[in-house]
Symmetry: C2
Subunit: 115 residues, 2 copies
Amino acid sequence: MQPDRLSLTLSAIADPTRRAILMRLMDGEASVKELAAPFEMSIPAICKHLKVLEGAGLISRGRNAQLRPCRLEAQPLRDAVGWIEEFSRFWDTSLNRLDGLLERLQSADPMAKKN
Amino acid sequence: MQPDRLSLTLSAIADPTRRAILMRLMDGEASVKELAAPFEMSIPAICKHLKVLEGAGLISRGRNAQLRPCRLEAQPLRDAVGWIEEFSRFWDTSLNRLDGLLERLQSADPMAKKN
DNA sequence: GCTGTATCTAACCAATCAGTTAGCTAACCG
DNA sequence: CGGTTAGCTAACTGATTGGTTAGATACAGC
């Protein structure tokens, strides 16, 4: 079964290495070597992660001499946020109303409560 | 490497079958058999998916005679939403501005653009 | 206790994943 | 030109995933 776009996005960001790469890219474009530097794994391993991110549309790649700089692409993650948000909004309104979680969500401290 | 909680949550919801199960559970508790009904796969396969969801803390299980009803748990997903939202919020506010800036820098001075 | 229903475990299998090393291509620089 | 650097592909490996079937377990009702 070829996976749908949402599954692709979510499994791409399910990996901590790939999330770290994305966060690094929030600081701006970076080359493969720069992206690989903080990790202990080999360059080809990073290449594979980049390929996954690119396949999910989360990054795009340029060309600059022998560099292939990576940059963030926002849309797929925005879609994922849409799905999850809708999901959790439903939860907070109908399911967990009993233990009063709603306000806490609205006031932006997602770690504050335990069930 | 034992995966962190966020990775656990995200990879749990990266599977379309598991997302469908979660959405079904928005209608209320359900037994394993009920959850398995819409799918073409075997009951043990569903059990495994449920185990993944339970391991990620996304569902919890009760006991009612020979039934082990499943119900949603909100917290882990809320954490995930928090992470992704923060991420995409950054994108929506600063990345788009940064975009144009980077492009301009790149075309003006091809090696000087890392933050 | 016996039977049927619901669920889980065990063992297995094929496919995918995440990493490696080795070797290749392409671009820059002397 | 030759050497260096950046990045990629290929081939391999071990671990994980997602499914199967067969059999075990727990409980309800008769």
